[in-house]
């Protein structure tokens, strides 16, 4: 029997509970109406259902690694596939989803910024973990949204926090020497998290990079660190800084430019011949 969307949903929830990746596929369009709505799923070595054609199942299974980068834990897309079974052949449009354990936001440093950042990370659908060496700060009651709050030793900060490529690490410790210790560990990982951000002024970030260079890291490795972390919003308070970091993480995934949309689209200027309102950058500001 063709697995129903309700059945598939139960299977996805089960996979996520076990921390497994699962792909689900459904035929959404085909010249053969008998294929439309047929479903197939695959998780680890197990799979079930069918798209109505063995060669179509095989084509979709073979395409999965290229369609969904290993670093991503979520995905949804439609692609056209060909199938050929005996005398039957044709095309089918297949909608495929990937569901995986959510990526994490690991916040190192449980101070002022960590509190709003943990909340925002949770709202973005990330699994939030907070690390600090001070038990008073790394206290679960301070971070109700976090799935884990750990007291760590900065000599080996990620000892109990194995990191995957799709994770995000934000370094906001109370001292730059601690941030530095974490950074060195992260850069030396065989498969480092794809998003590593460190807070700091230009001067302090420069000092960190000078130290990295002295410790033998290449400029290419240094360039992988997002420091200073966040988008340039001009905010100062812990909440404002957390918003700027969260915004950068959204941009990192969604591929935006971080530019205000009013400046990117310039609707009034383009279509009405007048500079649009908003905040002109200093270079384009005109004096009356």
């Amino acid at each position: 029997m063709n697995p129903s969307p309700a059945r598939i949903a139960a299977r996805v929830l089960e996979a996520l509970r076990k921390g497994e990746r699962i792909y689900t596929a459904v035929v959404t369009d085909s010249a053969d109406p008998g294929l439309i709505g047929r479903r197939w799923w695959s998780s680890g070595r197990r799979h079930g259902g069918t798209l109505g054609s063995p060669s179509l199942d095989a084509a979709v299974a073979a395409a999965l690694p290229a369609l969904f980068p290993p670093g991503e834990s979520r995905g949804a897309l439609s692609r056209d596939f060909e199938y050929r079974d005996g005398g039957r052949a044709g095309n089918a449009r297949v909608y495929i989803e990937l569901h995986g354990p959510p990526a994490r936001m690991v916040i190192v440093g449980a101070g002022h910024i960590a509190i709003p950042l943990a909340r925002l990370g949770d709202m973005l659908g990330l699994r939030v973990e907070v690390l600090d060496d001070r038990p008073d700060f790394a206290a679960p009651e301070r971070f109700p949204e976090a799935t884990a709050v750990r007291v760590i030793d900065f000599r080996d900060p990620f000892a109990d926090t194995p990191l995957a490529p799709h994770d995000h690490v934000v370094l906001v410790t109370r001292g730059h020497s601690f941030d530095y210790e974490c950074l060195v560990r992260l850069l030396r990982m065989a498969r480092p998290p794809h998003y590593v951000g460190m807070i700091g002024s230009r001067r302090r970030v420069r000092a960190t990079h000078e130290q990295l260079l002295r410790d033998g890291f290449t400029t290419e490795e240094m360039g992988r660190v997002r420091a200073p972390v966040g988008l340039d919003l001009g905010g100062q308070t812990p909440v404002e800084i957390a918003v700027s970091v969260a915004a950068e993480i959204v941009m990192f995934h969604a591929g935006g430019s971080g530019v205000p949309l009013v400046e990117k689209e310039r609707v009034v200027e383009r279509f009405f011949g007048h500079r649009s309102p908003g905040t002109p950058s200093p270079s384009t500001r005109t004096t009356e």
Binding site: A10, T28, I36, R74, S78, R93, Y95
Partner: protein, 109 residues
């Protein structure tokens, strides 16, 4: 309602429902590929495929599945409404796949 909540709702359905999923989106659509909505005989149960922007059209199409219609893709074109004052001025095209969420609850049809 986040994705996981909607999944849980979908897995636990006890009344017939139609699932609408955005399977492709181009241009400026309010929700992106992967967004879902559950429609019952009385209207939307959970989720959204974009609110004012084309959602009414999807709900209409979904309701047909309670009257015996089969699964199909509905193309919602929001690009031709730019000059109207309707709330659907978004400027994108999306394909929404609609199907019975739990065929075993649909009785004899």
């Amino acid at each position: 309602m986040d994705e996981k909540e909607l999944m849980a709702r979908l897995a636990a359905l006890e009344e017939p429902a139609v699932l609408a999923t955005i399977v492709a989106a181009k241009g400026s659509t309010p929700r992106k590929t992967g967004a879902r909505m559950l429609v019952g005989t009385g209207g939307v149960i959970a989720g959204t495929v974009g609110g004012g922007c084309g959602e009414g059209e999807v709900i209409e199409a979904a309701l047909e599945l309670f009257r015996g219609g089969g699964p199909r893709t509905v193309r919602v074109d929001l690009t031709d409404e730019l000059t109207s004052w309707s709330p659907a001025v978004c400027g994108g095209i999306m394909d929404v796949f609609i199907e019975r969420a739990n065929p075993d609850h649909f009785g004899g049809s």
